[in-house]
Symmetry: C2
Subunit: 269 residues, 2 copies
């Protein structure tokens, strides 16, 4: 599956309501969701069997920066307060893991669904991208129309029961003169994970080559720009790949759940 299997040219995706966006994905559109339904929170999905739900919820509590939980659906439930839809069909693309191995990437997971699956909706760095753009900070992967680049790091998350794994970060190149704006924006309007994890020095995170991300697409880092890294909601998937639960369903990286919750509800007052 390529990053974009159908064109969205001419479609003002930022102006679509979350329900309109989800309908398109339910109808088969497969595309990264960066920039869609401006003002609404997007979420990482991880659905796990109920008997692993405690370990995972504790993992999120112990690693809140990469795993800010927006909501948790009750076992077997496919909708909830921030999703007036169906979590099995309303994302553009899913990844299905069996025993920690990726077995399928698919736009519909109804055939994999079980009544004991608990869906975790985890906050997404796209929430602060709008704030960055308002501050005049460029967001390169949106400009280039590709998926944000994401990297496994050498830093370990704090484990919880059966769940352990590395911190995954997303990267956005920021002009050196604007790095302070990014920090100010994060602190002033602060949002889940708005504060960068690290500025520059990818080697210190164990990242050898920015040109070969572990998830998503590489983006250009221009002269005078610094790579800035944020804790990333793909971290739970990396934990799944390491912890090998019998079944796990996630979004495909960058292909998020567009929720009915406004970004502003996750901003500090």
């Amino acid at each position: 599956m390529t990053s974009t299997s159908r064109p969205t040219e001419g479609l003002d995706v930022a102006a679509l309501s979350p329900a309109q966006a989800r309908l398109r994905f339910r109808d088969g559109l497969v595309t990264p969701t960066a920039g869609w339904s401006r003002g609404f929170a997007q979420a990482n999905l991880l659905a796990l069997p109920r008997d692993l739900a405690y370990d995972f919820l504790l993992f999120t509590q112990r690693n809140p920066k990469p795993c800010p939980v927006l909501d948790v659906l009750d076992a077997g439930e496919v909708s909830g307060p921030i999703l007036d839809g169906d979590v099995r069909t309303d994302l553009p693309a899913y990844r299905v893991y069996v025993d920690g191995e990726l077995v399928e990437e698919t736009p519909d997971v109804r055939e994999w669904w079980r009544e004991d699956l608990v869906s975790f909706l985890v906050g997404c760095s796209f929430t602060f991208e709008a704030a960055l753009m308002e501050e005049g900070v460029p967001v390169r992967h949106v400009e280039q129309g590709v998926n944000v680049p994401m990297y496994r790091t050498s830093r370990r998350c704090r484990p919880a029961g059966s769940m352990s794994g590395p911190l995954v970060v997303s990267m956005r190149p920021v002009p050196a003169a604007q790095v302070a704006d990014v920090h100010r924006r994060a602190v002033h309007r602060g949002v889940a994970r708005g504060d960068p994890h690290r500025v520059g020095d990818p080697a210190a995170l164990g990242i050898d080559d920015l040109g070969t991300p572990d998830f998503g697409d590489a983006v250009e880092v221009r002269e005078g720009e610094v790579p800035v890294f944020w804790a990333c909601g793909v971290t739970p998937q990396a934990a799944v790949m390491e912890s090998r639960p019998p079944l796990a369903i996630s979004h495909a990286p960058g292909h998020m759940l567009v929720t009915d919750a406004r970004d502003s509800s996750y901003l500090q007052p």
Copy 2:
């Protein structure tokens, strides 16, 4: 058991380290902990059997204002990253609930301990009292040397599995002219639950009489003062009393765990 069974006159409790404070409680001192070990976070305790831990952790996720989780000890563990001690002995007083009924208030719960108990350490409103006092806002129950007054409200928490219950609030009278300072302080230095839940109008919360709190001690509300209410970490105990787990161990209201974590680690940057 009265609120204070042994005198602490002459003891500068604010200057004691958390380890020194816990040692006194381990040795049998029973007293509310407001004002103890200034600068260090105090925690509400709730220990529950492992098979109820998911429901409770989800309850805290769904009700973060009254239940800001600081840390969760692994099943059977009695210490952890923010507690270099023993959670079974290091609080001044505990309450033991069997099937939701209070069966004992005791300074030591070793005889009740089970290897499947998971201890939740939940943030406490004392954390922002230091910030209030720095702002020149009086904290009446500290002045009066009594326990903070706490009230069950008519507002329901969002349930999670077997866990449900009312919101419990603590109350501090604030001079009307300083209410804005309280808000500014909460927003500016923001901390778990630093933002008041409600200002004035106890009847709207279903509180008929400020003079008869459900937990803790009544305090004087003086001419020109407004009762200000904060979501309270006793909320989990109210959920336990309603949800009737086979066994639950909590702190006695106001008799908190003094942790090794600095308050500042829970303040916004």
